[in-house]
């Protein structure tokens, strides 16, 4: 199935994702791209990607960096963004990015032609990022794994919100159609 266009991150830019479902969003984006992936998380972070639960072929391409300090984390992010062979850099900074840091990362992404995705805490966004996504898992029926991915900020386009069904293992995603309004109560099928 073709990947839905609006959910693709604009290449060679730095993006942000916040909310409880940001790691799922990052893994979804990783599954879309081919090539080496880098996930930079602080050494003290308890959450780790679990290999048996990752989407197919993401695990073998993934490199994990665990720098001890925030400065090292930003340095690693910039270095990876500047490196051409990496396709997606996912970083989890613990502090809000300063204006300088955000701008530097954006320039590094452009120079290295690499896409960056910052997994930020709520409200810790940077001015320099290309887009910002608010990601939340939402409850659904038993055969669906629903996510609400809302585009809150977009430097080169409009903002929007999508409810999607992504099961966390494949690269395919299904858009959930908007709920129609029913004027009459539904009858039980006969």
């Amino acid at each position: 199935m073709k990947i839905p266009e609006p959910l693709n991150l604009r290449p060679h830019r730095m993006h942000e994702a916040e909310g409880r479902g940001r790691r799922s969003f990052a893994l979804f984006q990783a599954a879309q791209l081919s090539g080496p992936l880098v996930w930079i998380l602080p050494a003290h972070a308890p959450e780790l990607p679990m290999l048996p639960g990752l989407p197919q072929d993401v695990g073998a391409r993934l490199h994990i960096l665990r720098p001890t300090s925030e400065a090292d984390l930003l340095w690693c992010t910039e270095e990876c963004l500047r490196a051409a062979p990496v396709s997606l850099v996912i970083a989890e900074p613990s502090n809000p990015l300063s204006l300088t840091a955000g701008r530097r990362l954006q320039l590094a992404a452009e120079a290295g032609r690499t896409t960056g995705l910052m997994l930020i805490l709520a409200g810790a966004g940077s001015n320099a990022s290309e887009t910002r996504w608010q990601c939340e898992p939402i409850a659904g029926t038993s055969d669906s794994t629903l996510h609400s991915w809302a585009l809150n900020k977009n430097k080169s386009g409009t903002i929007a919100s999508w409810d999607v069904n992504w099961n966390g293992t494949s690269a395919a995603v299904h858009m959930v159609s908007e709920t129609g309004k029913r004027c009459q109560p539904a009858d039980a099928p006969r």
Partner: protein
């Protein structure tokens, strides 16, 4: 250690008894000999001072002595645990004859504090025998005369053969030389006759010196001190070219490199770098040194550079060319090298699959520089979360599975629960986290959104914990 006065011996424990491994002339004069049990030696010589022998360091010392001894001959080999064998054909006239050569050798060893015994003979076997029984020089063509007074054990025959020979009354080599060969070989095996022939020159026996292991170090000494960054980089580039050529000829790649800079005031600084994979490409290695060279304080100038590959690994010739895959893997290795040199190679990791059902051990975080990516085999069974963390207790959980609970200050209500999946601890590992016994894992979808991986321990009633989050 100060030189021992009086009797002194090194002891070595073999089996369950200490034996004399090595002893000084004073001790030998009292009737002790090598291989004697320490208890016997103490009975003969009560004031014997001993130290345990360190065989590894002894072998190391012998190896460095071998390097030194190459001043006397192009081919020097280690001969047993305590000897050196040099092929001095064509050399003695440089020292003024065989006797002068031997005197020179002894004088130099004496000055270094070493007691040595040596012999010069036409064959390897004869020199070996004579060096261990008095030493001396056997003139050319007089081999049989020179060694006939030595005991048969000097011929490098094994202990059983030596005892059998002495039982039939053959003690000296002269006794053997006189005997017919065929009955001797039939009775004592071909080894004895071979050793005798080798000692007498009837069978050839080369010195067979092992080739020196290649040394991956180069240096550059400068007439005038340098201090500019660009100058150091230029010097480094020259060294790297030479070192990489050396590595290429030995089909090795460097894994760690050290650049030592000597300042004019004799101060030394060094820069160490690591590489994410074995490499011998000068340009790419030079890029990794740039940061370290920046930080060096040149003082009044640097007048010597020394570059050595401290850790090397085999690296065969590779296809170089324009393939995009090759180019990309090189670039990725460069990135991992520069990351590892800043944050440490143990923090640049890769996920590798592991064969364990315990969630924490179902994958390994391995250093990326020392592992290759592995594709996980297709897994069956219940779905796994994509994020795992150490178990966090949940509060106010009632029922199995809990209908509602509090976790990370959130009130969550269960919408759907899938499970249980029972995982038993691996009894062959004593994991403190798994001392509560087996665990029942549930996938809990909450009305609020998060899909969590909860477990409880039915054997110990320790409550509910969250260990992971699904997509």
């Amino acid at each position: 250690m100060r030189p021992a006065e009086g009797s002194f011996a090194l002891t070595h424990r073999s089996g369950n008894a200490d034996h004399l491994h090595c002893l000084n002339p004073t001790a030998s004069a009292q009737g002790l000999h090598r291989g004697m049990a320490l208890a016997d030696a103490r009975a003969i010589c009560p004031d014997l001072a001993t130290r345990p022998a360190d065989l590894v360091r002894e072998a190391g010392a012998l190896a460095s002595l071998r390097r030194w001894a190459s001043r006397y001959a192009p081919m020097v080999a280690v001969d047993g645990p305590d000897g050196l064998m040099a092929d001095i054909s064509g050399v003695p006239h440089l020292f003024g004859g065989e006797a002068d050569l031997r005197d020179d050798l002894h004088a130099r060893l004496e000055r270094a504090g070493l007691h040595a015994a040596s012999a010069i003979a036409g064959t390897r076997g004869a020199a070996h025998a004579l060096a261990r029984h008095g030493g001396g020089i056997i003139a050319d063509g007089r081999l049989a005369d020179g060694i006939e007074h030595l005991p048969i054990t000097a011929l490098r025959v094994d202990r059983a053969t030596g005892e059998a020979l002495s039982r039939v009354g053959l003690v000296h080599i002269a006794d053997l030389i006189a005997l017919p060969r065929a009955p001797l070989a039939r009775r004592f095996g071909p080894g004895l006759v071979l050793r005798l022939d080798q000692a007498l020159g009837a069978q050839p026996e080369p010195v067979a010196a092992a080739p020196d292991a290649p040394h991956f170090g180069v240096r550059l000494t400068l007439a005038d001190p340098i201090g500019l960054h660009a100058d150091v980089i230029a010097g480094l580039a020259r060294l790297l070219d030479r070192l990489c050529a050396k590595l290429a000829s030995a089909q090795m790649g460097a894994r760690r490199l050290r650049l030592e800079l000597r300042r004019v005031d004799r101060g030394m600084t060094h820069i160490d770098i690591g590489l994410a994979r074995p490499m011998r490409d000068p340009a790419r290695i030079a890029a990794l040194f740039a940061k370290g060279v920046d930080a060096v304080d040149a003082g009044f100038g640097i007048d010597a550079l020394r570059l050595s590959a401290t850790v090397t690994e085999p690296l065969g010739p590779e296809q170089i060319g324009s393939g995009p895959t090759i180019h990309h893997s090189d670039a990725l290795a460069d990135l991992l090298s520069s990351l590892g040199n800043r944050i440490g190679f143990d923090r640049v990791l890769r996920l590798l699959p592991a064969t364990s059902l315990i969630p924490e051990r179902s994958f390994i975080l391995a250093p990326a520089a020392y592992s290759m990516p592995e594709h996980a085999s297709h897994t069956t069974g219940p779905q796994r979360p994509n994020v795992i963390f150490p178990p966090e207790p949940v509060h106010a959980a009632l029922g199995i599975p809990p209908a509602s609970f509090r976790w990370r200050r959130m009130r969550l209500t269960t919408l759907r629960a899938t499970g249980p999946e029972r995982i038993t601890p691996e009894w062959w590992f004593d994991d403190p986290a798994w001392r509560n016994g087996l665990r029942d894992y549930w996938r809990i979808e909450t009305c609020e959104g998060p899909r969590l991986w909860l477990f409880h321990t039915p054997q110990s009633q320790a409550g509910w914990y969250v260990q992971g989050e699904f997509a």
